[in-house]
Symmetry: C2
Subunit: 337 residues, 2 copies
């Protein structure tokens, strides 16, 4: 099959082996996939991953493995999206409802599992969510990042009386703003790119330039989506004492932000711990989120992510697609299979 | 009046000026005071404070300033304890119920307000809490640190089904364990000092040695009370993914933990931010707490802090008292006025 493979750089391989269909798993023919900043980070060494990249996709079921229960209602040809954390669904962590933290998990296109930038992928049947007919492919491909935005409100109680700031006008910042605006909170998106901020304004979200971080703005909740280490200090400056700072960014280490000698795949930076205690700040690390609410928001059109689509490429044009996705002005770059 | 003053070291001054009684404030004759690790840190330079040290006290009202309302029910001679954050009680932060974060606040014996290691102190009348007759001085003097322990459950929902670890068997760690054991959670205190751990065991708290941090213990909530920068990494090791890490320690910078060039009164250390995101850890900075519940726990004897008293000294013996409080085996050292 065709695949975009990360192996000391990005390679288009037209003859990559198809994935084996394991017990309890489902074979999916990918229809459309999205390039995430995490993909760019992985190409730069984050997670030390080798294999087929990609974890945002919409596809159609192409085959059902053994022991996929009939009650699951999954059928060949059905359009699906899929949670990227392939958990064991048997350990205490999974049984406690935290399958995205399963210690035995593999992660689609990120950790020990080939990803979505290929003709086929496999996932456990429990990971798959049928896509309603009313949600076209180019919208459904946003379910995974939108679920990550939904995770913010799954973790943190946002009151309609709160002042909330999303810091960073990239894809995740915009989707976070799209979800958080539904809470009725006083919301502002802080970013540097006029065209990206304009998308949020069209959704009714107030936007502020980066100078906002200099004026002693005091939000109850700040969501850090900048994707760069400097974002943390900016977020701290925007947050009131006893406020909540949601961390969404992951990145590889950079020279400017310090590295741990023993683990250079992880980002480290200087943090003033006493100041977190004195100001009673709550930091909330936030990663993958629930697919069902993201699908509901897309089906109801309460969130329409289409303004985020910057370009679409064929899989064989992967190099050009990644080059485009890495540009500062780019938002979502799609790959069409 | 007599006072223990921090001014390039600790000085006993028998002729220190009595505090002025401001409008809305109350003059308190100190009866007993406790030495906190923060006092030791301040002597080492933390907070850059100069003045009378001390913020844990029980005293008797010696005078009422102008505009202390009669409805407050405060009377000369009444025994009181007092919240150390002298807020303005007029700004938006105070009116939002967060007076401990008032940007105009002074803090007893810590920041721009003389403290409790003296014959007299003053505090706003709103800071004072009458002490029930059933609570003797040597117990009442623990209200302030016990309130800080109560702040943990004020900030974080602890379920009786949670596994909770308190890391650090110092004064705050022990008081945190004393409060957290009341939740019914599966609680363990991790520490290095056999005599201190024995106090917790006498309260029915399970104790573990420091080797617990090597065995992949996975708690739902870890409360970091070690008072040293290394405590954070240990706490992280004890915490499950998607768990809550409560930070209670403040300290001055040390060479081993890194310093920011621009602000050497604050502790900084290397933090792996991506790992907080990937593991969806919640960090909760936790400082001062509510006095009323602490007084209730002491009055009901659900918490009896007396095993923590290591020694009592006269105020003039301040140097010896601080020397004693700095010893590794010491717990609470009291100063009797």
């Amino acid at each position: 099959m065709r695949a975009l493979v990360c192996r000391g750089g990005l390679h288009y391989e037209p003859g990559y082996p198809e994935p084996e269909l394991e017990t309890g798993e489902v074979l999916v023919r990918v229809r459309q996939a999205g390039i995430c900043n995490t993909d760019l980070e992985i190409l730069r060494g984050y997670m030390d991953f080798q294999g087929v990249l990609g974890h945002e996709f919409v596809g159609a079921i192409a085959g059902l493995g053994r022991r996929v229960p009939a009650q699951a209602g999954l059928q060949v040809g059905q359009r699906v999206v899929g949670d990227i954390n392939a958990a064991c669904y048997a350990c205490p962590t999974c049984l406690a409802g935290r399958h995205t933290h399963c210690p035995n998990r593999t992660t689609l296109g990120i950790y020990r599992r080939d990803g979505a930038f290929a003709d086929y992928l496999t996932l456990p049947w429990l990971n798959l969510h049928p896509v309603p007919d009313a949600v076209p492919d180019e919208i459904a491909v946003f379910v995974e990042p939108l679920a990550a935005a939904c995770q913010i409100v799954a973790q943190v109680k946002i009151s309609p009386t709160d002042r909330v700031i999303v810091l960073g006008d990239g894809k995740l910042g915009l989707l976070a703003a799209a979800v958080l605006r539904l809470t009725g909170a006083s919301l502002a998106l802080v970013g540097r790119h006029a065209e990206k901020l304009a998308i949020a304004r069209a959704w009714g979200v107030r936007t502020l330039g980066p100078e906002a971080t200099l004026h002693g703005v005091q939000a109850d909740v700040v969501v850090e989506c900048t994707g760069v280490p400097e974002g943390f200090a900016l977020a701290r400056r925007l947050l009131r004492p006893a406020g909540v700072l949601v961390l969404k960014s992951t990145y590889r280490p950079t020279a400017s932000s310090g590295q741990r000698g023993d683990d250079d795949t992880q980002q480290t930076q200087m943090l003033d711990m006493s100041s977190l205690v004195v100001d009673e700040i709550t930091l909330v690390g936030s990663r993958c989120g629930p697919f069902a609410p993201a699908l509901r928001l897309l089906e109801s059109r309460l969130v329409d992510p289409r303004p985020l689509i910057s370009a679409a490429f064929r899989l064989a044009e992967g190099a050009a697609a990644f080059e485009r996705a890495a540009r500062p002005e780019a938002l979502k770059v799609l790959l069409t299979l």
